[in-house]
């Protein structure tokens, strides 16, 4: 037996309690890993390097439309293979809380830029030729049980028609599917020409221009070249990867860091109390045993370190399991937040290590000091 064996045996002296505490820690660190990874991803942003599509928006904000005259200029930039533009429609279905992600696009351009989508040629054709046509992602269609041929009434919370009516009627002409994480199949696209003619204001402008690149390695140069075209003009642009654009979009929802940190704070405060209580109880129950260790010649410091090591081991095992699970789950989020492998990367593991140390010290020090100060005679006499 080694010191480690001794600590391990003490830790599992109450198996049920230890396992339940470990499960709580696992859940806490699973949450920590994923949320911290979101935090890191949002702070880091997504790299333009290797992006196959570049999104160009107005330099000030994507809520400010870009004039469509920019489109042919972007198209002429070397390295740009195809260009589309789109306008946020701001749709809701049946009731305002049922918000949908819908964009107005020029169908042919969309087809050129997202050629890999699963949508039949007939449906692409129907989308291009039906002014009131709309194509919806499979996820949306499944959710609302929509089929091709259905009339789809949507309301816009931004765009009134010429007569001031916010309700728009579309004809579903296609249902597409895609594994492209940057364009998840929960989105709908309407015909830009119809939309632009019918809307009351903002004609001739689109929120963003999306360029498909011939060589993703040139993403940075192409972005710079696009932005250089409009430098010092009335409509300056900012080009970025689709992932970065999506991250910026989510950032509009609120202070993600604050939200994430508030949740993490609550989680760790709960864990602090839970683990603190477990360790305090464990030490209280084992006071005679700790006194025996001291009797046998274990010094005050040795007993203190044994208790502290037990706390580190408990929290360390829980954290390791939770972080491993978070790393696995994080692989599924990587396409949305950027990077490669899992979003729970070494940086997040580093934060987890710091969390383990802080938590273990906060939780383990009080019982460890109690064990250190334990008077052998009193403890053996049950006082």
């Amino acid at each position: 037996m080694s010191y480690f064996g001794l600590v391990l045996s003490q830790l599992f002296s109450r198996k049920t309690r230890t396992i339940l505490t470990l499960l709580s820690l696992l859940m806490a660190f699973l949450l920590f890993g994923l949320l911290q990874a979101v935090n890191v991803a949002f702070n880091r942003g997504a790299s333009i390097e290797g992006a196959s599509r570049v999104v160009t928006q107005a330099r000030v904000s994507f809520t400010q439309a870009l004039p469509l005259r920019h489109v042919p200029l972007v198209e002429a930039v070397p390295g740009v293979e195809a260009v589309m533009y789109q306008q946020w429609f701001g749709a809701w279905y049946q009731e305002p809380r049922q918000q949908l992600v819908a964009f107005a696009v020029e169908p042919e351009r969309l087809h050129e830029v997202v050629a890999e989508w699963q949508l039949t040629d007939d449906q692409w054709q129907a989308f291009a030729t039906t002014r009131t046509g709309i194509i919806v992602g499979k996820q949306l269609a499944d959710r609302f049980d929509w089929k091709v041929g259905d009339k789809l009434p949507l309301n816009s919370n931004i765009w009134p028609q010429q007569d001031g009516n916010m309700a728009w009627i579309f004809d579903i002409v296609g249902i597409f599917d895609t594994s492209d994480p940057a364009s998840p199949p929960g989105v709908a696209y309407i015909n830009f020409d119809y939309f632009d003619e019918a809307r009351q204001f903002g004609k001739g402008g689109a929120g963003i221009i999306v360029s498909r690149l011939s060589n993703p390695k040139e993403a940075e140069q192409v972005s710079q070249a696009i932005d250089a075209l409009f430098l010092n003009s009335a409509d300056e642009t900012k080009s970025q990867s689709e992932q970065e654009f999506n991250l910026n979009f989510v950032r509009q929802l609120g202070d993600i860091n604050l939200i994430v940190n508030a949740i993490l704070g609550a989680v760790f405060f709960t864990i602090l109390l839970l683990t603190g209580n477990t360790m305090a109880q464990a030490v209280r129950e084992r006071i005679p045993q700790l006194a025996v260790l001291k009797t046998l010649g274990f010094s005050d410091s040795a007993v203190q370190w044994l208790v502290l090591a037990e706390t580190f081991l408990l929290i360390g095992i829980g954290a390791l399991l939770g972080m491993c699970l978070a790393t696995v789950f994080g692989m599924g989020l990587t396409p949305f937040l950027g990077g490669s492998g899992s979003i729970v990367d070494l940086t997040v593991w580093g934060y987890a290590l710091i969390a383990v140390i802080v938590l273990a010290l906060a939780v383990g020090l009080p019982p460890a000091l109690r064990a250190r100060r334990l008077n052998i005679v009193d403890a053996l006499a049950g006082r």
Binding site: M1, L6, S299
Partner: protein, 229 residues
């Protein structure tokens, strides 16, 4: 005459309970030679266990001196006293005080974790100690799987595994039936006679005391007979 292993001079111990000061040991003088087997008897509150705790280095006196093997243990620091206990004293308690999650062998091995012995050497010593107390075949059993007598044998094996000079036993048979108690006491006798361990044993049981070479009586913190060896 054999040189005293344990020398207590003017030993006193007082406790404070609120405003009251309780004098448990009063100016006690005691010599116990190496290889002796002494039973400490006396009524409750006479100071037997307090004296045993002082001799075993579990507590510090309020006054006087204690020398064990010529070393003033009353002057040692807490860490120094821990080291001294690990090297020189084995403890046997009334309620065995084994670690419930560890097997008999691992309980016996505990004091050896404080030494620089290799794992193989530690195992060898554990095997010898368990064999000596007649529990070699129970090495893998946990305390809950052993009888009271077997638990006490494991405790004795733990007490002798580091080969200490002195064994300090606090009511070692207090929780055992007569037959088992006699077995344990015979085992202690063997350790004393064949391995030369000096044993100081606190007991209430006159029959247990008969196994010792001599009996010292304490009353109100003072030896009432045989103060000198």
């Amino acid at each position: 005459m054999t040189a005293p292993l344990i020398e207590c001079r003017q030993l006193s111990k007082t406790y404070r309970r609120g405003p009251e000061t309780i004098e448990v040991l009063q100016q006690l003088d005691l010599n116990i030679p190496e290889g002796d087997f002494v039973a400490l008897m006396g009524p409750s509150g006479s100071g037997k266990t307090t004296l045993l705790n002082l001799i075993g280095g579990l507590d510090q006196p309020s006054g006087g001196e204690i020398r064990i093997g010529g070393q003033r243990i009353d002057q040692l620091s807490s860490a120094g006293l821990s080291r001294w206990r690990a090297e020189h004293v084995g403890f046997v308690f009334q309620f065995y005080n084994l670690m419930p999650v560890l097997s008999a062998a691992r309980n016996v091995e505990l004091p050896l974790l404080l030494t620089n012995l290799s794992k193989a050497d530690r195992q060898r010593r554990v095997d010898v100690a368990l064999k000596l107390v007649g529990l070699a075949e129970r090495a893998g059993h946990k305390p809950a799987e052993l009888s009271g007598g077997q638990e006490q044998r494991v405790a004795i094996a733990r007490a002798i595994v580091a080969d200490p000079t002195l064994l300090v036993c606090d009511e070692p048979t207090g929780d055992l039936d007569r037959k088992t108690a006699d077995e344990i006491l015979r085992l202690l006798q063997t350790l004393n006679s064949e391995l030369g361990k000096t044993i100081v044993m606190v007991t209430h049981d006159p029959k247990a005391a008969e196994y010792a070479k001599r009996t010292l009586h304490l009353d109100k913190g003072q030896l009432v007979d045989e103060p000198e060896a």
